[in-house]
């Protein structure tokens, strides 16, 4: 952890147009929850649908993509990462610092709004709000690490991340039950299911697999990202 690097990364994330997406998406989530409440849909079933398909299924991967790749990919793209890499700071520390920034942004812009949206709909009923907020927090951290790794590995990080989130987690996960085992948003649902007692909601992946999987994926992604940063080549395509 290097506070100067963290400071620079925070400024880059919060001072540009990137902040618009980071703020608009959670605001939209809360607005949708408010609208649903207005049209009289504030039942437990609605809250679970909203959390499953919208908060965890859509907003969370998107924010993970924006925060995870955003902390490092633009710097690699325009070459300014050179100035950072030429300082006597170990590369794994740089990767870890950027991960901490991304993870903290996920807690603020993904987990907190998820809680607010669920609370707005059903208050504390069946622990849905707490469950999904906790799930979004841990899955958000895993997304941040995985997408940070993608940002280090390839210039097409966002596109590949989108393909993972939409095709693998969305399309394939929708039809092939086995694919759900290896999907971060399903792990978020497992954690949510553990906390909440709602009858409308049953996770597909057991908590005994989901929690170790999140830990392993996060740590492995960070280690690989740190290693890759040690031998980063800037001779780019295009």
């Amino acid at each position: 952890m290097n506070t100067v690097v963290a400071d620079i990364t925070y400024r880059a994330m919060l001072g540009r147009k990137r902040i618009l997406l980071l703020v608009l998406l959670p605001l939209a989530l809360i607005a949708v929850a408010g609208l649903l409440r207005l049209i009289g849909g504030s039942s437990e079933g609605t809250a679970v649908t909203l959390m499953k398909s919208f908060a965890v299924g859509t907003i969370l991967p998107l924010l993970g993509l924006v925060a995870g790749t955003g902390v490092i990919a633009p710097e690699i793209e325009d070459g300014t990462i050179m100035h950072l890499l030429s300082k006597p700071i170990s590369r794994p520390v740089i990767a870890f610092t950027k991960f901490v920034v991304a993870a903290s942004l996920m807690a603020l812009f993904a987990a907190l709004p998820t809680f607010l949206a669920a609370y707005l709909l059903v208050q504390n009923e069946s622990g849905i709000a707490y469950g999904f907020a906790l799930g979004a927090l841990f899955a958000g951290i895993a997304y941040a690490a995985v997408f940070l790794l993608l940002g280090v590995l390839t210039r097409h990080a966002v596109t590949i991340g989108v393909i993972y989130a939409l095709i693998w987690e969305g399309l394939v996960g929708g039809y092939v039950p086995g694919a759900r085992t290896f999907s971060i948003q399903q792990w978020a649902q497992s954690i949510a299911d553990q906390v909440s007692s709602s009858a409308f909601f049953k996770a597909d992946v057991s908590i005994g697999f989901a929690v170790p999987a999140i830990v392993v994926v996060t740590v492995a992604a960070l280690l690989i990202a740190g290693q890759r940063l040690r031998s980063l080549s800037l001779t780019g395509e295009e």
Binding site: G45, S53, P74, E77
Partner: protein
């Protein structure tokens, strides 16, 4: 007191004296170059992977459908629902390629170089829009046409679905125009490619998720009419509803859409809004 001693020497550059093809040709050349670029032609091998991979995925249902027709003698996937079934792939293609068309020129501030030629801002935007629209149209129309040719060759009992095929090609053009104008407008607001990809895909995911959630909640609460309107938030369903209104095809969602000309009007309004945003963005970029 300073004496002007500077001279411009004629060092023998040859001037171009051939025909000058003018504005139309310049715009066409730009459009063709952009269209090739969308599919990665004339770019590195790495830039070709994603567009061609997505184009191959778009072909899969057509191939499977022809196989089903040939082996099981049944009609496969319907033409009108092709775009709806493959909407995620279309959205990813748009998100990954629209920023390529607009971001580099904005980022390296080379717009004045284009505008120093006969090309105007409107020509430039028109060429980019035409390229993206043509690319998306090809992405949809090629599998549809392959499937139609396959259907004619297999010669199933009963008449061929010519009407459905024509309806689907027309609505493929509408889908392409709608997605291209929205995608380019969103992507042009940031010179960063990654952020452009994220904002275009965020738009698609957001609209499709909102329409899905509201549809589910409204129909569960007995507001059938409002639920049908909620479907139109998803741009692909919007075009599908226009297709239903124009050609009387079966709606791809299983539910109906709101009747009347409203969906067509909404479609036109959305396209007009996106194009206005795009052109005003470029007018600003050109004047700075």
């Amino acid at each position: 007191m300073t004496e002007h001693t500077a001279i411009i020497h004629d060092i023998g550059y040859r001037h171009y004296e051939g025909p000058r093809l003018g504005r139309g040709n310049a715009a066409r050349a730009l459009a063709l170059h952009s269209l090739r670029g969308v599919f990665g032609l004339g770019r590195t091998t790495r830039a070709k992977i994603i567009p061609f991979l997505l184009a191959a995925i778009m072909m899969l249902p057509a191939v499977v459908s022809i196989a089903v027709m040939a082996l099981a003698k049944q009609s496969g996937i319907g033409y009108p629902s092709y775009a709806v079934a493959m909407q995620a792939v279309l959205a990813i293609f748009l998100a990954s390629q629209a920023p390529y068309l607009v971001a580099p020129d904005l980022r390296y501030r080379v717009l004045p170089l284009y505008l120093s030629r006969p090309v105007t801002v409107l020509d430039y935007v028109g060429a980019k829009l035409a390229a993206m629209t043509a690319a998306l149209f090809l992405l949809l129309a090629v599998p549809l046409t392959v499937m139609y040719v396959g259907e004619l060759l297999v010669d199933l009992p009963g008449p061929p679905h010519t009407r459905d095929y024509i309806a689907s090609v027309v609505s493929a053009l509408l889908v392409a125009l709608l997605l291209a104008s929205i995608g380019l407008a969103l992507a042009s607001f940031t010179p960063r490619r990654g952020l452009g990809v994220a904002s275009v895909i965020a738009f698609y995911l957001f609209t499709s998720a909102v329409s899905g959630v509201f549809f589910a909640v409204l129909s569960a609460n007995g507001h059938e009419i409002a639920a049908r309107w909620a479907l139109l938030i998803n741009p692909i369903f919007l075009v599908d509803s226009v297709q239903v209104a124009l050609f009387g095809t079966a709606p791809s969602t299983g539910e109906g859409y709101p009747a009347g000309p409203w969906s067509a009007l909404i479609l036109l309004a959305v396209i007009a809004l996106a194009l206005t945003a795009l052109v005003s963005r470029y007018r600003k970029a050109a004047s700075s």
